[in-house]
Amino acid sequence: MRILTALAAILTLSGCSSNWGWYVVNPSTASGAANLKFMLSGLSYSVQLSATAIAISVVIGLLVALPGLSSNVWARRASRTYVELVRAVPILVLILWVYYGLPQVTGLSIGVFWAGVIALALSDSAFQAEIFRAGIQSIARGQYEAAYSVSLGYRDTMRYVILPQAIRRILPALGNQLVYMLKMSSLVSVIGMQELTRKANELVVVEYRPLEIYTVLVLEYLVLILIVSAAVRWFERRLQTDERS
């Protein structure tokens, strides 16, 4: 937070002395306040898009990770292939392909929001699968054996014994992934999604003050991500104290 204040101070000072035009986003003027409000209106889209995408990608990631740990070689290969293929496609390319290409394949038109969600979720699911795989593999074999020896089947063993422990371990990685997803959601602006980056772009076209507007954009992401990081850390701590009692 101290860094933020310092950064803001530097920017303000330099804005006063040189040819910066902070008036475009000066909240004490009517037009500046309107511009700020316009920029901030993208916030809820960015958050909704990222949150929906990560929720879906966690589910896909888990569904891809489990066969990757199977003793069946074909299940492992299928999981591996999915991860390799999806990881190889740049997110921006995937967004374009889902938005412009997928409707032609399926015959269904997809809105900007859902195209963004699908592309981000698919892209992220490969990483989620790797995170889950590593997390599950880190649980000692004795945990499975103890669960099996009290007559739990594979499903219950995963659900009540392995995954609760694995998820605690991968929580920091999942938090990172959420932050990454928030940043990548800016790419969905290219198909016209009215999120933070798109709003900034539109404002720049009107006001022609890219330096100030994009600086505000940077700060928007910075604050958003600092809040998310803090929330993730709080959640991790809570899970740990849960076990302490």
Binding site: G142, Q143, L152
Partner: protein
């Protein structure tokens, strides 16, 4: 077999390989109801593998294993049925670290036996009292001493109300001062008529509790004898050497 009529566990020419290495070489063995068996033998002789085959934690190649005349095979439903009747206690306890002691005990009854939470709670508290740590029910395993953790592990198995209990070196990971509290619980269990197979090098316990000693070496059962005979007059050279080593250390 000394007690009962028909065996509760039967090994019939069981062999097992890890790749080229033969861990079990044609094991044949029958264990009667309420019988207490102690298995000993050098490291790597196949003791763990042998008892882990009984509840299907390891598969086996040739031969058959029957528990209650049901063959221990590879089909999932059959295995779960066998495991509901066969409890197992591990060297490293293997408690579930994310669950409280009581929840550790309740998981098997609820998810393995389909019991209600209320019934499982009652059952858990009963067996915690039986291993003499009722006051630890709401703690997490890592806040317990090793001896307490192993007693929780025993109670967790007992909550399945099994017919057979398997112990794989239950005291080997414990500090010396905690060994006796665990052996005490096991000796009490033996008195209830539980069928027990115990892999251990605690020879005092073996003398006190075992009906039969089994000595294994290189994947074979080399000697089977009542403890008095086994400890005073082992027949095989390998058993003599082994006893010499562990009794004189």
């Amino acid at each position: 077999m000394q007690k009962g009529e028909s065996p509760i566990i039967r090994f019939d020419g069981v062999s097992k390989y890890f790749d080229d290495f033969q861990v079990l070489k044609g094991i044949t063995l029958a264990v009667g109801p309420s019988e207490r068996i102690v298995i000993c033998g050098p490291s790597g002789s196949g003791k763990s593998t042998l008892i882990r085959c009984i509840n299907g934690l390891e598969g086996y190649g040739a031969g058959d294993i029957f528990v209650n005349d049901v063959r221990v095979g590879s089909d999932a439903a059959g295995l779960r049925a066998v495991r509901a009747r066969v409890g197992m206690v591990f060297q490293q306890f293997n408690l579930f670290p994310h669950l409280t002691v009581r929840e550790n005990l309740m998981l098997g009854p609820m998810r393995g036996r389909g019991m209600s939470a209320a019934d499982a709670t009652r059952l858990a508290d009963r067996y915690l009292a039986r291993v003499r740590i009722p006051e630890q029910a709401d703690k997490y395993p890592r806040h317990l001493s090793g001896g307490q953790q192993q007693r929780v592990a025993i109670a967790r198995s007992l909550c399945m109300e099994p017919q057979i209990m398997l112990f794989d070196e239950p005291t080997s990971a414990l500090d010396p001062e905690m060994i006796s509290e665990v052996l005490e619980v096991m000796a009490e269990l033996a008195q209830t008529g539980m069928t027990m197979i115990v892999v251990t090098h605690e020879m005092g316990f073996a003398r006190r509790v075992a009906d039969r000693m089994i000595f294994m070496d290189h994947g074979e059962i080399v000697e089977v004898a009542p403890p008095e005979t086994f400890f005073t007059a082992p027949k095989s050279r390998r058993a003599q050497d082994f006893l010499q080593k562990i009794l004189n250390h």
